[in-house]
Symmetry: C2
Subunit: 605 residues, 2 copies
């Protein structure tokens, strides 16, 4: 029944051979990999204006140069990643590039930053999407954590179905959002072009709270920089594209950069031209759409699509996290279960792990995950910088055609992202960015610890100089409490596997024991029966003691302990029997050279 | 560490030979077995007056005849049980007597009624004790369920320590309560004797709410009858007394009846003489003690001892329930685990089971268990009646000396308790007594079902006409994923137990599989290796399919599947490995004729 439910939710299993049909074309790929980056235009321009507004209305004019700087940053980072994609057509995320060119430690730092970023993005963007839903339906507010968990669960199911179906499911809302934004920006520009009326500068409404300092400008800039998170997803997942992979991924990346840059600039420019102010309870996008489209169905469409894209931003992480985790797992830095493909050809364990962590964050922060924003912006820029530095090192080593030209682009990219990282780190250190200093080293140490375990395991299991153990006439003991079909069957099995069999029983009731002795004469006269005393009525204690004594005398590497067990036909019948066999097996697991065998005797009713 | 904690809480284990030193003298026995019955004087007389007061002040004078009737009832039931004790010196609760003389079904009905009664008494009296505590410390009220759970836990621990220690722990509060009551009643009688002033009849304060009907009188009577619950505990546990068991138990029973009757009558008489009225927020005992002892330290002592005895009433059930459950288990009507003595010579599983059920009730009813009262009064009188009827039947069969005389006493007892049962059943049917009609048949059916399973089990496991299975050259398959020390060890083990060994691997990765083939040639050239295809990357599916195919060809009754497993040195390292072995073992458990063996290979670090 569980199997049938799984098939309904996730679809039929896919064969390994079908993997190449699961590759993505550019259109669905854009929907999967770019929803995170594109969604940030819904709040990026607003964040910039919120900070500038603190210094009064005049400071708002700075929002255009800041938006321009961010757009240039997008162009630089995208170009750098375009180069990375072509250099690493097998998938070159920050982890691969940094590890290969800078060394293991920088690679792990980049990997840890990205993993943290992915988890936080899911939690933050689901929380933002849920906040939009509960604004529309306030009655849902008390159950916001449950709504969040439901959203994460739906995202998991969609992604467990496989990457191609996810693309199909999520393509519509992403393109709907792009169309809505194009409509709103186009209508706004048209309004300005034909000289439509714009609201006055509401100078009287507010004045400066703080002076306009460089620090404030940098803070506004770093707030806008969250628009860049998610930009590396394409480079991480080049192998998810249809061949030619690198070419398709590169084109998708460029498209994303163009869309992201123009939407960001467009919204910033119109917000400034219409003198829009960040206002409690209404977003800039909503104000703009209200002004240029009227408060009709078109306005509602823009609002609805914004809400959906915020929720879908999380989906990009469902492509990136499992892929990155599988790379780390293949390199033995994470549990190897994360490297195995599930029956729909996705890294199911990675998807489930990501969902578990995000749900944990949603519950721990009770759906209010704003505090986590600085943490992930810093982590993302750290990984950008490491990735670019790795590329610079690579060009310098390989010295291919135009290597200097390429290296220059990546050097500019690295410098710019390093500066942004510094800005984000210093302006938001006390707000939570300090946690990066704690979390990332802890993760890196964990990776190294896991790796050490696997290396040590390989050494201990290595066949070099290994001689298989000698078993000889290895001793077999059969534990019996009474004598019945199951016990006689177990004795037959014991005799089949060794000539050296002993029966053991614990004397809890003298009457039962003497009856057992009599029946033993009849059914197993050729096997010695040892009766153990148990003054405290314990079964486990005397058996373990006897086995330990026996071990000292034996010359075989292994000793086998046979437990006759009958398997009831119905589950509730298990409650009617002692679970002593389970206890004994548990105790033997931690003793060397002991093999515990249950001989099942199945009951009919 | 868990073991050390257990020893601190419960004391060192006792040998079976020590059992006879664990017997109880009469003084601690009275404390254990009578706290339930005696505690009812704290509320019995009050319950009678509450009902009568509904018909106005004049009706209150009926409380003396009703109290007298209940005292006579106590005398009759005690005499009947005294006879039972001497007839069944090995312990003759209602279950044993009814089953032996009336048949299995009446016996099970009596057993079910008593078990229900014990569980409900624990829940109700702990809830009453907690209510007394939270009246004194209102800040504890919100955590009343937790306080109740704590009380149940402490009772469990005390009883798990063993019956002799429980007697020692609980003797002081029981005798303290008896002394307090004697003091309050004595002082009251002295006050009346020397003609001290008594309050006027507060006629103006209230008038009749309902007319004084026979039904109302019967309800008042049935409310007072809860005083009889717990009276059968001595008869159930005769074997807990020091020899001569029957004589000691009989004397204890008589003492209990005398104490119970005189306290009940004394309190009823004084309540009437002092014209005490049931009042919201203060009990009759508190009013009386306040009047005759003044509101000083003596009054506080009476109040405190009442609170403690209410809590201790539950303790009687901790003697009765495990004993009765063990009898039912020995007769195969309950899981046999309930019949085994723990390391402190008590039926530990019964104690834990009782605690679990009571905690469930406390949580389910949020500490307000009043609704359960009618349910258990009816059950208790049902078991009384069945037990007395059984005794009548016994006298008629055995016809010993004075048999007619004895039979007459039990006949009177049976008739009276049957009448009371009818009264309780009719007057409180809608209040919850109807549940008896549901719960007891369900329990009896459960008992019969359990018994049927054990009987059927005995038949299926019977050695009559059984021929042990033939194993011959039984097939052994070793499941391998790669080749390492653990696998080579498992192959050595397999060769030691059978000449018919096959290696099986699932092809998930062609590179790894061809490497395995090469290494196999070196390490196990004499064992065939079967490579299974797995288009859907499942490990379990192809293996189970292969095993099923193989079974059709084999002629052995059993087939052995060996799983090489390495055991990590630290618990967290388990997370770094697939738990496929566990899955395979779980799947094989439900297939006949399959023996799954893990060959452990212990790691050092």
């Amino acid at each position: 029944m569980i199997y049938a439910l799984k098939r309904v939710l996730l679809g039929n299993p896919l064969t390994t051979a079908q993997a190449r049909y699961e590759r993505l074309a550019k259109i669905p790929a854009l929907a999967i990999f770019c929803s995170d980056a594109l969604s940030s235009v819904a709040y990026g321009p607003e964040e910039i204006r919120i900070f500038l507004a603190l210094a009064g209305a005049a400071a708002l004019s700075l929002s255009i140069p800041i938006a321009l700087a961010i757009t240039i940053l997008i162009a630089i980072v995208s170009t750098s990643y375009w180069q990375t994609i072509h250099a690493y057509p097998s998938g070159g995320g920050a982890y691969t590039v940094a590890r290969e060119n800078l060394g293991t430690l920088p690679g792990l730092v980049a990997g840890a930053s990205l993993l943290v970023g992915y988890v936080l993005t899911v939690a933050v963007s689901v929380a933002a999407g849920v906040a939009a839903i509960t604004s529309a339906f306030p009655r849902l507010y008390p159950s916001r954590v449950w709504v969040g968990i439901l959203c994460v669960t739906l995202l998991s199911i969609a992604n467990l179905r496989g990457i191609r179906e996810t693309g199909r499911i999520f393509a519509v809302p992403t393109y709907w959002f792009i169309a809505s934004m194009a409509l709103a920006i186009g209508a706004g520009l048209f309004h300005l072009w034909r000289g439509g009326p714009v609201p006055d500068v509401p100078a009287a409404e507010f004045s400066a709270v703080v002076p306009l300092t460089t620090f404030l400008v940098l803070r506004a800039f770093s707030a806008g920089c969250t628009a860049l998170t998610g930009i590396e997803a394409v480079a991480n997942c080049v192998q998810a594209f249809k061949p030619p992979e690198a070419r398709n991924a590169g084109i998708t990346l460029i498209w994303m950069a163009v869309l992201l840059g123009s939407m960001f600039m467009g919204l910033s420019f119109l917000s400034d031209s219409f003198h829009l102010l960040p206002r409690e309870g209404e977003t800039l996008v909503s104000q703009l759409a209200g002004k240029v489209l009227g408060r009709g169905p078109l306005y509602l469409m823009v609002q609805a699509s914004t809400m959906v894209i915020l929720l879908l931003a999380a989906n990009t992480c469902y492509a990136g996290f499992p892929m990155l985790a599988s790379l780390l797992a293949k390199d033995q830095f994470l549990p190897r279960q994360l490297a195995s493909l599930g029956d729909r050809l996705v890294y199911s364990n990675g998807i489930l792990f990501l969902s578990g962590l995000s749900i944990f964050l949603l519950v721990a922060f009770q759906g209010d995950t704003h505090a986590l924003l600085p943490l992930y912006a810093l982590g993302v820029f750290l990984s950008f910088t490491l990735s670019q530095l790795g590329m610079v090192r690579r060009w310098a080593r390989h010295r291919g055609r135009h290597w200097f030209h390429h290296a220059a682009i990546n050097t500019i990219g690295a410098s710019v992202t390093a500066v942004v990282m510094g800005v984000v780190g210093t302006t938001r250190f006390t707000e939570g960015a300090w946690m990066v200093v704690v979390v990332i080293p802890v993760l890196v140490l964990g990776f190294l610890r896991v790796r050490r375990h696997y290396v040590e395991l390989g050494r201990q299991l290595s066949l070099d100089g290994f001689a298989p153990p000698k078993l000889g006439r290895h001793p077999v003991v059969v534990l019996v409490a009474g004598i019945h079909r199951g016990v006689v069957t177990a004795l037959a099995y014991a005799k089949a596997i060794s000539p050296n069999v002993t029966g053991i029983t614990v004397d809890l009731d003298p009457t039962a024991t003497s009856r057992l002795r009599m029946q033993w004469q009849e059914w197993a006269p050729d096997i010695p029966l040892v009766v153990l005393d148990s003054p405290y009525r314990s079964v486990l204690g005397p058996i373990l003691h006897y086995i330990d004594q026996m071990e000292k005398q034996q010359d075989s590497a292994y000793m086998t302990i046979i437990l006759p067990e009958f398997i009831p036909a119905k589950w509730w019948q298990h409650l009617l029997h002692n679970q002593t066999a389970l206890l004994i097996k548990g105790a033997l697991l931690f003793r060397r050279g002991k093999v515990a065998i249950s001989i099942p005797y199945h009951l009919d009713q």
